[in-house]
Amino acid sequence: MLVSILSLFSSPQFRENCTSNNFPLVFSEVELVVRPVPENQEFLKRFLPKLEWRALVETARSLGNESLPLIQPETLTDDQLKALHHVLLELHVEQGNMTCKGCGHVYPISNGIPNMLLAEHEVGR
């Protein structure tokens, strides 16, 4: 599921001097885990409009998953839905780093939990 979140996640808005180009976060040194989850097409269809397709696909590709087309098809085929399900809900980033493109801040991920804490001086006013 983590990947799906990250396609929805940008650097915390209140980080100082980081107001643009902060989405999506870029992965590096990742360690992936796949945890099978039962498919739920209804949820996927409702989730779809919220996704930034391009960001999701680019993130997935940077993680070595090329199952999704770069341009969002009007209606998804069953295979594509399956691929989307896999990317969104089954693919987890267990270890790694996320880097903000805007400010270069690195958020480490350990045990599947990203550390989004900022030091007090890094929080914008």
């Binding site: 979140i5 940008s10 949820f43 599947g112």
Partner: protein, 282 residues
């Protein structure tokens, strides 16, 4: 009532020991799950639809388990690494977890979540744990980022333990400034033990739900009662029946009591002479 938020900051208070205690204590579990169920009820999500929810201050994922059971997908955030790492991972909760200080704001894409719940968390935001912390600022940051992360229409329900009315005021004020509608829902307002406060925030125009009534929590299955209606009914009895039977002394006592409640100065003391007639002297 002990207040852990007055002891130390959350990431320190919920260290390894306290985190384990928190999840192994069956009483805490029972209360938490009860409050979570009520919070989910207050969220009023469309039925039989899996929703994408945010659990703010998810801790060890006690509330997350209930969300799992209800078939929802969720994302949890907490500031205590011990709570997240030691316990949440062992319990194998379904949701994704983030280590985050909610007072710093968070960066979810606009309109991501169908709702948010938070159980016993908000009071932590009211403390300034370091000199650079300013509770109003942290609250504002939290509420504005939350508002943008929620879909329209949707709700966010917070169960919290305010220690004073000022705190409630501060919280509601910053939520309103961030663009939320809604307000406070009080369950069992007349019971000392069962009384629970929920802050029910809304994105988009919606009606505020009502609190649960009655003295005890056991009675809640019978349904939600209307507080104002009950008050009216009670007043009716006082106004209609009693007035005929009321003697002059009772009336005087009632008035004096009322003045005392209102804080009026110089209300005479009660004695056996209260409301007696003055006899004619000669």
């Amino acid at each position: 009532m002990s207040r852990p938020e007055e002891i130390s900051p959350p990431e320190i208070f919920y260290g390894d020991d306290e985190a384990r205690k928190y999840t192994s204590n069956s009483r805490i579990q029972a209360i938490q799950s009860q409050m979570t169920e009520r919070a989910i009820e207050l969220l009023a999500l469309p039925e039989d639809q899996p929703a994408f929810l945010l659990d703010i201050g998810c801790g060890s994922g006690l509330s997350g388990e209930l969300l799992d059971e209800a078939g929802h997908y969720w994302v949890g955030m907490d500031i205590s690494p011990s709570m997240l790492a030691e316990v949440a991972l062992e319990r194998e909760v379904e949701g994704d977890l983030f280590l985050q200080d909610i007072g710093q704001g968070f960066g979810f894409r606009p309109g991501t979540f169908d709702g948010a719940i938070s159980i016993s968390v908000l009071q932590w935001l009211l403390n300034a744990d370091t000199s650079s912390h300013s509770p109003p600022q942290r609250l504002t940051r939290f509420f504005t980022t939350l508002h943008s992360a929620l879909r329209n229409p949707s709700r966010a329900v917070f169960q919290f333990y305010p220690s004073s009315d000022d705190q409630v005021h501060l919280i509601t004020q910053s939520a309103q400034r961030a663009g939320f509608g809604g307000g406070i829902v009080v369950d069992y307002p007349n019971s000392k033990k069962a009384r629970k406060m929920y802050l029910c925030l809304m994105v988009g125009h919606q009606e505020v739900p009502r609190g649960l009534e009655g003295e005890e929590e056991v009675s809640r299955r019978e349904g939600v009662r209307n507080e104002t209606r009950r008050k009216k009914e009670r007043n009716k009895i006082v106004g209609g029946k009693k007035r005929k039977e009321e003697s002059g002394k009772e009336w005087v006592m009632k008035k004096k009591e009322l003045y005392r409640i209102r804080g009026k100065e110089g209300v005479p003391r009660d004695s056996k002479y209260t409301a007696r007639k003055r006899r004619v002297q000669f």
